[in-house]
Symmetry: C3
Subunit: 163 residues, 3 copies
């Protein structure tokens, strides 16, 4: 494969499903989008949970383990908890309250803003298979892709983070 020519795109692997880390990822993504940069966010492992629809999606044909995983993992961005000082979910609600009071957009607004500004949000195909997450469970506007797609995007980027 020919070597890519570089560029000013940004990629972020969102591996973590921690509320604070996902917020940090979208703050950086929206900052880069505001500078006119192309942004690709690649959601893998626990990061996938940020992309789940909040409501139950019926009859997905999951096996027992997939159903158990799906039930135990947070369903959507509103269910994510802090990486620290989570205090059974209180920490996350506190941070959301503080963000509101300081007029910082909520995570869900940041996500909508990123999608509207043209960011590519890609769900990692292998992680979806491993965790038994179906495409129908993901919010709208999400692509599905593999590691090759991620690496290709990263070769046009000057900033590649793993969060």
């Amino acid at each position: 494969m020919k070597a890519a020519a570089g560029g000013n795109d940004k990629t972020i692997v969102v591996f973590s499903g921690d509320l604070d880390k996902v917020i940090a990822g979208f703050v950086i993504a929206n900052g880069a989008l505001a500078m006119g940069r192309k942004v690709t966010m690649f959601f893998t492992f626990w990061g996938l949970n940020a992309l789940r629809r909040p409501e139950t999606v019926p009859s997905l044909g999951k096996n027992l383990i997939e159903a158990a995983f799906g039930w135990m993992m947070p369903r959507g961005s509103r269910k994510l908890s802090l990486s620290r000082m989570s205090m059974g979910g209180i920490g996350g609600r506190l941070i959301r309250g503080i963000m509101r009071s300081k007029q910082v957009p909520a995570l869900e607004e940041m996500m909508a803003m990123a999608i509207r500004s043209g960011a590519s949000l890609v769900a990692c195909q292998m992680s979806m298979e491993l965790m038994g997450i179906r495409r129908e469970e993901l919010i709208d506007g999400i692509q599905v892709g593999g590691v090759a797609a991620y690496l290709e995007a990263s070769e046009h980027a000057d900033n590649n983070l793993f969060i």
Copy 2:
């Protein structure tokens, strides 16, 4: 905005406030400074705690939640604990003791060395607002900046880490 021309600078987003991760960040930063590279470290969320002064700073006009956060979070680099095997603080003290016995500089010396060698240590403005941390609470030699400053620095860098 014009695309940046690349360069050999380094940036590190210090999101984590874990002792071991912050040490890793400063080892990389000081290595790059020794090579003559420009280094920008951007402290956000729990990473901010590494920059706090150890002593209480009076009358900062914090509200109740800000005061509670300030009280619960570690005040300065000496209070950080390990991401694993923390064992109620014993793990951190153990690692510090081992570093001393192996003549590895302590985290505080690494931080002073980085500042002396010209690293830019930037506290994330949004995180300071969210966590109610005031400029007066931070050690000397710290700048305050936003995501745009981080992204601009990163466009002159060939290595951008998120720790």
Copy 3:
């Protein structure tokens, strides 16, 4: 030192010893190797555990603290546990079982594949000293190096992750 000319290599600092993060690192590494890219993985702190031999290595002349660390930390990739939903090791076994059933190569196969494809797996010298891990305890095919080696490799890379 002369500024490096850029390039399409990849580097990954494997700081974490979490099974899921190490898997993610090797998925990215093997993806890049399949594209013909040069890959350097730098194992530091808990990441070193992924490189340990499963069997005990006798008479390494460790002091008490080093022996204790060695005993408490996971000995090799098969002993790593998940960063979340670990459930006392059940989570890790579950993920390994799912990977097998979906015909995804096991972590150990991914590691062997990366080494066979020419990836440089480097154990961080300073971390080895701090954690009292001896070269004889590491699996075959591992180099030992310091932060300067890491930084030099990273200056020929367009993607540098910290995992």
